[in-house]
Amino acid sequence: MELIFELSSPGRGAAAQHPPVAADLSAIPEALRRKEPPRLPEVSELQAVRHYTRLSRLNFSIDTQFYPLGSCTMKYNPRACNKLAMLPEFLGRHPLAPESHSQGYLACLYELQEMLRDVTGMAAVSLTPMAGAQGEFAGVAMIRAYHHARGDTARREILVPDAAHGTNPATATMLGYVAREIPTDAQGDVDIEKLKAAVGPQTAGIMLTNPSTLGVFERRIKEIAGIVHTAGGLLYYDGANLNAILGKVRPGDMGFDVIHMNLHKTFSTPHGGGGPGAGAVGVSERLRPFMPIPVVGVADGRENREKGDLGSLASNDSRFSTPDSRSYRWLDENDLPQSIGRLSAFMGNAGVLMRAYVYARLLGREGMHRVAEFAALNANYLSARLKAVGFDLAYPTRRASHEFIITLKKQKQELDLTATDVAKRLLDHGYHAPTVYFPLLVPECLLIEPTETEDLQTLDAFVDAMTSIWNEARSDMPKLKGAPWTLPVRRLDDVRCARQLDLRWQPAP
């Protein structure tokens, strides 16, 4: 498709979108004025609408395709979440608006904090981090602040399993730590002996995902927690895989001190083509003083109310009204003087939080319990069916959690079939590719996560597509190597893209 700039004509514009005045630059000192206008597109409103509507149609999306994308939890994004977060009053609210005119909004955030606190088993929750990676940053920053507050500044290492997300070591680095890798054993568990050998007075903490990115539950988690805690370190839980255990087991109960949640995964806020996300953090009692601000509290100082209090929402007549008597306020550095501080100009990705709130209320208690149940059912079913087709599971003796790994190691050797080939050919079948080449320690891997919102027919049709690819690898390899064939473009030249950098349109000279 043409670029929007190629539709542009000098002097064209969408007049209805212009303020009804002439542009008057006279109030700007001459030396500060722009000499040439920026080369933004000059198009009509119809041109813009048609261009971006057509562009959108080049995308895959949850609303149009199945995304068995491991570690990304691409589940249905209920439309109600979008619509209700975009009510005119919420959209029109200035972030610094007075608390007197923000009680409805603050009530939503407060209740979201409380619900997240309960599902994670933590002592308190801060909603401000704007993405998983920022949640990780906040988590490790709190670990650091905790040690420093005790005068313990010698801890320079963060332990990270080799299967971890790249954000984990990257985050450790951003906080000034050295990331030290802990290997995984053949069963996909952390190698406990290696862990024991690695911990010490230099250990600030460990960053774990459980179930791990290998798609299996870390069975000796309590033992790991004991080892790290004994060494004086803290445990960080990467919430990327929270969907696997929601309502089944809680990070707080496993012994974690801090957790970030990807609300755009487990709480189904949209991925939006790469964001915005939201990475709320939950903390144990000892990390509470260090939480990032702002946090929402109850104005009468009862913010440390007991678990379950929110349950009272369910008991009144209309089943959903807020107790009238409560009022809310922002907690800031005055309330949390040891806070790691502010991570965004205002309150993080507020609109994403509102969507997560709506989703959580729609699910409710029973719905939360079901998330992991049906995510696991779908993953184990798909895993069993693909195994029957002939695909090799990376951890065939383990239960799949909400995701599982197929390895093409054998097929690569025998047929030169790669994970990329399967991924690209799946696109032709109308399925988004699974996550490929991650986790790094499984060769030619496909990490597959169907999520709980996909139905049996869709899973079966996906197995049909995988079966067809399995057969094609033996009958028509060029078809696989050349895929995709039916998309707007065929395989793109990534090497050229990085070498001959073309990062912006320029007018023809």
């Binding site: 979108q17 005045v21 542009a23 109030a27 000192p29 030396a31 004025r33 722009r34 920026p38 080369r39 813009a48 971006y52 959108s56 995308n59 999306s61 609303d63 990304c72 994004n77 109600a80 619509k83 209700l84 975009m86 009510l87 005119p88 919420f90 972030p95 005119h101 409805g104 920053a141 790249g166 990257a170 069975r219 309502g247 189904s268 949209p270 964001g275 915005p276 678990k307 379950g308 959903f320 501080g341 965004s344 205002f346 409710g364 208690r365 029973e366 719905g367 059912l377 184990n380 079913y381 239960r399 049996l456 995709p484 473009v489 065929r490 990534d494 050229r496 990085a498 950098l501 073309d502």
Partner: protein, 450 residues
């Protein structure tokens, strides 16, 4: 069961295929003593009808104030088409465009966005967005520290006339890496930042905010040349709307800024209580490999046809892990979608009118309020679309009075800038009418007279 499509017969069939007796059996690797019971803190689920009613009531409870506050978030008109297209499922529910062939819509749009931001800022390269303006500034500082081979003092000069929350975010995000900040004061009369390096250590980077937090327009040419003379890289923190009419950072001083960043919210994102917004970051091409965040490039496919893909991924955490330029993973794709459509719809002429109409309205507002007894202009420097007013009485009670009358009167500067006395930061964008301004002046007049 909301959002669970499984019928009882589906479940039976699936368990049979798996060879498991029950769904619960799928969790048999989890130690029994860890299994949790009922989530007592989560209420029963609501139907969509019920949550719709609840949210509508909460929205109505908050109501809508007539807004005269900027302070980092600006109420601009957003064409209806922007969010109607942005929330199409294909944009809204799409994943990060790692599978380029299945993501050409998002990727081409990001390439267009990068072009627009490069144009607005006068820089060679742009990334595909960061979280917000404050974190974009923090990332710009970290980037400058990586990129400035000549000077690794790790000292950064920030203007005192910087958004106070931005300064806090910079500290939160950069201090663990050893960066230290030092403040450049402002002139009490004009409100403009003074080129001032209090100690003898040469700074790694100097941040110039245009306009600064008080809405005052800095002498950016002089500041840029002064910073470069000390071996610092220049980071421009700018309001993107203003760039329709203000000198782009790429042309500041003799050599131009090195890195430009800012808050993208004015470009099509609603106020929405503070987010989601997006940060933008552009730079000279020479330092593109030090950029954080995603970058899209144009390339060709197997048939030689034009296509777009994420590029320079070797900088990023999912490839480079502990050695990445940042731990950033998600960006703010959906907001960038809105911004790109917004900029296409308003175009260069529309954006210039938004900028100058906002300037003119703020001028009218300042005039109307300054006519009140005891109210005066805070600074004499030229300004964009915000202004500091000095009031004859403490600000907080007056703001409360205005709120009771349905008006959000501005940002109370007295907490963060006690040196300014009873000072209030106000803003009137193109969305404010003459009668809005009159209403504000009348109401404040009444409160002051009381």
């Amino acid at each position: 069961m909301p959002f669970i499509p499984h019928t009882d017969s589906d479940v039976r069939q699936m368990l049979g295929t798996i060879g498991a007796p029950s769904i619960d059996a799928l969790f048999d690797e989890i130690p029994a003593d860890l299994r949790c019971g009922k989530l007592r803190g989560v209420p029963e689920g609501l139907s969509e009808m019920e949550i719709t009613r609840l949210m509508s009531e909460r929205a109505a409870q908050d109501g809508r104030l007539l807004n005269f506050c900027g302070a980092g978030a600006y109420e601009h008109h957003i064409p209806a088409a922007v969010w109607e297209i942005t929330t199409r499922g294909e944009f809204y529910s799409a994943y990060t465009p790692y599978q380029a062939e299945a993501s050409q819509g998002t990727l081409q749009l990001l390439y267009e966005f990068q072009t627009m931001m490069s144009e607005l800022t006068g820089m060679e390269v742009s990334n595909a967005s960061l979280y917000d303006g404050a974190t974009a500034l923090a990332e710009a500082i970290l980037m400058a520290a990586r990129a400035n081979d000549a000077n690794n003092s790790l000292k950064v000069l920030l203007p005192r006339a910087l958004h106070p929350y931005y300064a806090e975010v910079v500290t939160s995000c950069t201090s663990a890496q050893g960066l230290v900040t030092q403040v450049m004061p402002f002139d009490a009369a004009t409100g403009r930042t003074k080129p001032d390096n209090a100690d003898s250590v040469a700074p790694t980077a100097v941040v110039i905010a245009q306009p600064n937090f008080f809405g005052v327009l800095e002498d950016v040419d002089a500041l840029t040349d002064w910073a470069h003379a000390q071996g610092a890289l220049v980071i421009a923190l700018v309001n993107p709307t203003s760039l329709a009419v203000l000198k782009p950072p790429g042309t500041w001083g003799a050599r131009g800024a090195d890195i430009v960043c800012g808050e993208g919210q004015p470009l099509g994102a609603p106020l929405a209580s503070g987010g989601p917004y997006f940060g933008f970051l552009t730079a000279r091409k020479a330092i593109v490999r030090q950029m954080p965040g995603r970058i899209v490039g144009r390339t060709v496919d197997l048939d030689g046809k034009q296509g777009f893909a994420l590029t320079l991924q070797a900088r990023e955490q999912h490839i480079r892990r502990a050695k990445a330029t940042s731990n950033i993973c998600t960006n703010q794709g959906l907001l960038v979608t809105a911004a790109t459509i917004y900029l296409s719809m308003v175009g260069p002429q529309g954006l210039a009118k938004v900028a100058t109409a906002s300037m003119a309205n703020t001028r009218k507002l300042v005039n109307a309020l300054s006519d009140l007894k005891g109210v005066g202009e805070g600074f004499t420097g030229p300004r964009f679309h915000e202004a500091v007013l000095s009031l004859p009485r403490p600000v907080a009670p007056l703001l409360r009075g205005l709120a009771e009358a349905g008006i959000f009167g501005g940002f109370d500067l007295s907490t963060h800038f006690p040196e300014l006395g009873h000072a209030l930061l106000v803003c009137a964008t193109e969305t404010r009418t003459d009668s809005d301004i009159r209403l504000y002046a009348e109401t404040l007049g009444r409160l002051l007279a009381a």
